[in-house]
Symmetry: none
Subunit: 133 residues, 2 copies
């Protein structure tokens, strides 16, 4: 579980945590049944208050992604509702795109510069709508 937060971001810490856990779930870094770090452990690692982690977990809990139980811990749900999984993909893409735009913008790059760079990185300087995995 590697979660990193950016205190300078204009996205609240607890939402950064939410987004990263969602992404790790969709990207396979986290699997159903996995135990998440305890609120205190993650908070200590990130040097923030554990209530902030708790808040992030509560959001994920209410989204039906995890299950938190007082005195036991926090776990990825075994059977996340299918529509939740589906929505997760789009939500993750949203979060990724926002993050990318925010950061490149902060670095002083324009949208077009960023996109151009993306294409170069992808090794396909021009169009084509194929996957690039």
């Amino acid at each position: 579980m590697k979660i990193s937060i950016d205190l300078r971001s204009d996205i609240p810490i607890y939402l950064q945590i939410v987004e990263q856990i969602r992404q790790q779930l969709t990207s396979g870094g986290l699997k159903p049944g996995d135990q998440l770090p305890t609120v205190r452990a993650l908070a200590s690692e990130l040097r923030i208050n554990f209530n902030t982690v708790s808040r992030a977990y509560r959001v994920l809990d209410q989204s039906g992604i995890i299950s938190t139980q007082q005195g036991r811990g926090t776990y990825i749900l075994e059977t996340p509702p299918p529509e939740v999984v589906e929505r997760l993909q789009l939500e993750s893409l949203d979060a990724l795109s926002r993050h990318y735009l925010r950061q490149t913008s902060r670095l002083g790059f324009s949208l077009e510069e960023a996109i151009k760079h993306l294409r170069q990185q992808a090794g396909k300087p021009d169009t084509g709508d194929q996957n690039f995995s």
Copy 2:
């Protein structure tokens, strides 16, 4: 932190604050990492409204001199020399792009889908995360 304002000056209070903090930074009175007084503390000391202090801090924040974080406080930022900044910019863009490509790819989106999404996101100015509430 000794800041003094002159109510009779024709310079706005918030700009007086901005100037004095800038000066204390160059004169070494303030160092990177230092915490500035809270908006309320400084406002109380100067007997002005805390929103005026907040406004000064916002100016400094947008200049990249300080970092204000809701619920945490306001801090002087580390400011690396310009040539380092320039190099870091490119490296950061590289890292950001690679990360974005890797993640969107994992989610099963094509490069063009991702870029299309980026443009859409750029259209709406950072709406924040509205997936739950």
